[in-house]
Symmetry: C2
Subunit: 408 residues, 2 copies
């Protein structure tokens, strides 16, 4: 196989999502729907709430019976009854009548509004004075006011926040069709990498990438499956990748940082059956040596071994890519906040740069302070609150420029 590849842009890599099939869907109880992605449109089967409901404690009335009522000239109404919570009123009211009602109660026939109890005076058990007029539909939620029957209330591809979970519940979708939660296999490679329980001799370092990558996968509401550390050995790496491909939906190989190891990743991917190398190098920094292959129908990523590079590629490239595969309609879920840059930042043309920044509020303005330091230093990611993206055709940004920061 010829490994001569043109370095790809972020957009070109993201467009490759169409080469992959998205994860399947499954029915889950509404209680488990939070943080998943809808795989069906939710269509209201009935009006919601389905009946005219009080939003205040007081008296259900026909509004016109209160018109002109005031402190000095109250309206005088007969009490036709009391409405119990959750009950269908067993009576209706006429224009001169009122019914005692609590918030959430169902208005009786004939009533179109509620007078707040604060604006009434109970004269005796059968009559009440009204001191303030109400308009029709005041202090009520009408039968179809939240959602109307046949309305599409949520679309396939929607991320289910707490309120969407509540809405599904309220509409009676006790089971919801959602996309499956993808499993992501994580393999750390490199002869210099040792398990974190061990004491590193000089020349060795503990496995950091398995832990940072797993964290980002969890943050993206997917399931990391760690396959440990594989030495720089072709057969061993091939075996690990095959196992991970069998058991998960996507595989991440975080390269040992040597050239040799990177070659191993390409070599292994080249010898896997039914596998194409789609990306070998991206025009982003950090993260240039990123690899993407399609093994069967599944994506396999070769990530840089440098701790910061691996994290940036995961956050900026892999997670949005995964979001698309897992059915999310709005692929870019990264939260950005505007901030003022505190110093000049240089950038190379033809490359997308991601600069770590610390955010600091000063006089109600958010300042973005570039965090200096090599991409092998995890310290720089600990100090960083976000990433500043500098476009391919920008040579740099000047101090005091307002920029959008991707939150970490």
């Amino acid at each position: 196989m010829n490994h001569f590849f043109k370095v790809k842009t972020l957009e070109e890599v993201m467009a490759l999502t169409q080469e992959f099939s998205s994860v399947g869907s499954e029915k889950v109880p509404a209680a488990d729907a939070f943080s998943r992605i809808l795989a069906q449109d939710l269509i209201a089967q009935k009006d919601m709430p389905g009946f005219r409901r009080a939003t205040m404690d007081g008296y259900a009335v026909e509004a016109s019976a209160t018109f002109g009522a005031s402190e000095s000239s109250p309206a005088w109404l007969d009490i036709a009854g009391t409405i119990l919570m959750g009950d269908i009123p067993g009576f209706s009211i006429e224009k001169g009548q009122a019914a005692k009602i609590s918030t959430g109660g169902m208005l009786p026939k004939g009533a179109d509004s509620v007078v707040m109890v604060e604006h009434t005076d109970l004269i005796d058990e059968t009559s009440v004075e009204i001191y303030k007029s109400v308009a029709p539909l005041q202090h009520v939620i009408d039968a179809a006011e939240d959602f109307a029957k046949k309305e599409t209330v949520l679309s396939r591809g929607t991320f289910i926040r707490p309120q969407e979970a509540g809405l599904a519940a309220g509409l009676g979708f006790y089971q919801v069709e959602t996309y499956k939660i993808p499993k992501v296999g994580i393999i750390s490679t490199g002869d210099e990498i040792i398990p974190i329980e061990e004491e590193p001799a000089p020349g060795k370092i503990r496995d950091i990438n398995s832990y940072t990558l797993a964290g980002f996968i969890k943050e993206a509401h997917a399931i990391p499956v760690c396959y440990g550390i594989v030495k720089d050995d072709l057969a061993a790496l091939k075996k690990a990748v095959e196992k991970a491909l069998e058991e998960t939906d996507m595989v991440l190989i975080s390269g040992g940082s040597s050239v040799g190891t990177r070659d191993f990743t390409i070599d292994v991917l080249s010898t896997l059956p039914d596998t194409d190398i789609l990306v070998h190098g991206m025009s982003i920094s950090p993260g240039k040596p990123t690899i993407l292959a399609k093994a069967g129908k599944k994506p396999v990523w070769g990530l840089p071994g440098q701790v910061v590079s691996a994290m940036v590629v995961l956050k900026i490239v892999v997670i949005p890519f995964l979001n698309k595969l897992k059915g999310l309609a709005q692929q870019d879920q990264m939260i950005k906040v505007p901030a003022k840059l505190t110093r000049n930042v240089a950038s190379a043309q033809g490359r997308r740069d991601f600069i770590r920044v610390l955010l600091e509020k000063k006089d109600s303005v958010l300042l973005a302070k570039p965090v200096l330091g090599k991409s092998g230093l995890i310290r720089t990611m600990i100090h960083a609150d976000g990433l500043l993206e500098i476009g391919d055709h920008v040579e740099g940004l000047e101090k005091d420029t307002m920029v959008d920061i991707i939150l970490l």
Copy 2:
């Protein structure tokens, strides 16, 4: 008990966290540390990475041997050997020598920098030409450059993001002391509330609050425990609260929306042993009828029954309160983005208002459009991307004001 309470401000309620003991801590594997909160300072036991490491593929040299080297006048060095990944070099180099090294490799004694392979030309197996000078420590990470021995690298109370999990791993903290994940009991009350599997007759509505509240609790990395729906019955509610208090660290009672039910919550809390009502009414909107009690050492919240009010109180009051109890040093974890208000918004003095807004980007400015609608309509929270906070002493905000939006 006298139920006459002065309505409390948000700050007064938040200050009450000190009345409660925080959750305990426990050791967890580094792999499970993501999204938890550190209950210990992490102090580096050794320098990290602990040895002088290459950050580029090339040749380890003593920098001064390359001074003045250029394309036209290269420096000529003898190759003393090749360094294998993860190995301690078995030789040292002198000024006229170089050692082949890969990214991540350990520099031999005598070397203080790395020349990138791109700036060299291999003459034969024993000698290499250098075309570009390097400065001491160029293209290396020094032994203590990431973290130095005895340095406090992370403090107790830190939220563990992916990078903090990776750092703990890298430093060999394969077990980390973290605060326990609190369990939060959720009780829905009200005679009009039915399980979501059932078809509501007129007057009844399905339980929404159990699902929205559980979602927000999960979002806050805590564990919701749902106790279902309790009818408006003193004994039944008392039993449910007692059970929840026994099994969880904090209890939420989402009131049926009737006055009656709110009274039940106060009545039950008043009759529980060793229980004080600390808050009965807050000066926020929505959310005024919020209750906070201290039962033994645990907080019990009475939340409004209106779906929107319950969510706003949870997000704005209960979660930050919980964050404090669970050991988070920076209590306010709400993400805020600046946006431009698209219309005038009125607000009452002496009250903190939270207005639902939809965010829309237009010409690189984020617009905050208030979402109109009653607080009984979940639709308004579905359409909302955030909440606009309006201070106690502000009468309202004018169109085009720049405001901070709390993301939902």
